[in-house]
Symmetry: C2
Subunit: 140 residues, 2 copies
DNA sequence: GCTTGCTCCTCTAGCGACTAGAGACTGTAG
DNA sequence: CTACAGTCTCTAGTCGCTAGAGGAGCAAGC
């Protein structure tokens, strides 16, 4: 019966030890068996599940979405359209975020470019924040 | 002596009432005077400060950064280089975030495009999450 | 004067996804 | 045998709010 400790699982999966315990608590990972000394033992399937979770987190899926995706994975006969729709929602969110961040980038660049590096009294950064009418995107 | 209620201040500044109280608690806003009935009264300078805070938050500056920016604003004789550097840091952060989100976008699009809308057993979304070797950016 | 209904007050607790730390135990290498 | 790394559980903290409880102030209508 092979199986590894939580520390080894952390190394393999790239998820920190306390975070693994946290995922267990959140119900993403079934409670693993323990050694006589009460230590968690992770088998291959658990390690795969951990890796799945890490990838999903890296793609920005939240715990709820991951729970659903894992449930789907556990029942492979079902239609994949829920998984598809979760991924699409996530994509839309990412696209929107990029849009917003690009607008911020533009505004920050304008702010910084206008700064003459003198005193605060003349600082463009402070000025723009004080009087937003001076900013490039008056929509917000 | 003109001055407005917290509700009016919220309307004018675009910051919600509890959030204004929260900012006061966090030390971004000096404690305003009160009416006999113990209600906060906001004058012009406080309203301007609130607007400053809102703009800064919209640009993604965190509370600590805003505290510094406000301190600088309160002492306009100083060099503006700390303000400049806060803004530059923020810009760098935004640029990095955009980069990461774009990579996510690409990967999510690939995932979704590959999905044949059949069952989970054949779902590309689940597959990619399970076996990350299939993903386009093997760097993470 | 009295009621209705809105705004305001303080205080505490919750969100999400961890992270940090305390204090105790286990397991292993020298 | 001792040192020390790893693990255990539990609680509390992070950030920037947000929600709710339970109470008080205040203006308008009757």
């Amino acid at each position: 019966m092979s199986g590894v400790s939580i520390g080894e699982a952390a190394r393999v999966s790239g998820i920190k030890v306390p975070t693994i315990r946290y995922y267990e608590q959140m119900g993403l990972l079934p409670e693993p068996p323990r050694t006589e000394g009460n230590r968690r033992v992770y088998d291959e399937s658990r390690l795969r599940r951990l890796t799945f979770i890490r990838h999903a987190r890296e793609l920005g899926f939240d715990i709820g979405a991951i729970r659903t995706l894992l449930d789907l994975q556990d029942n492979p006969g079902q239609s994949c359209s829920p998984a598809d729709s979760i991924a699409r929602q996530r994509l839309q969110d990412v696209v929107e975020r990029i849009e917003r961040l690009k607008a911020l980038q533009t505004e920050l660049e304008r702010m910084i470019a206008g700064c003459s590096h003198a005193t605060i009294a003349k600082c463009r950064v402070i000025e723009v924040l004080t009087d937003h009418g001076q900013c490039g995107t008056p929509t917000h």
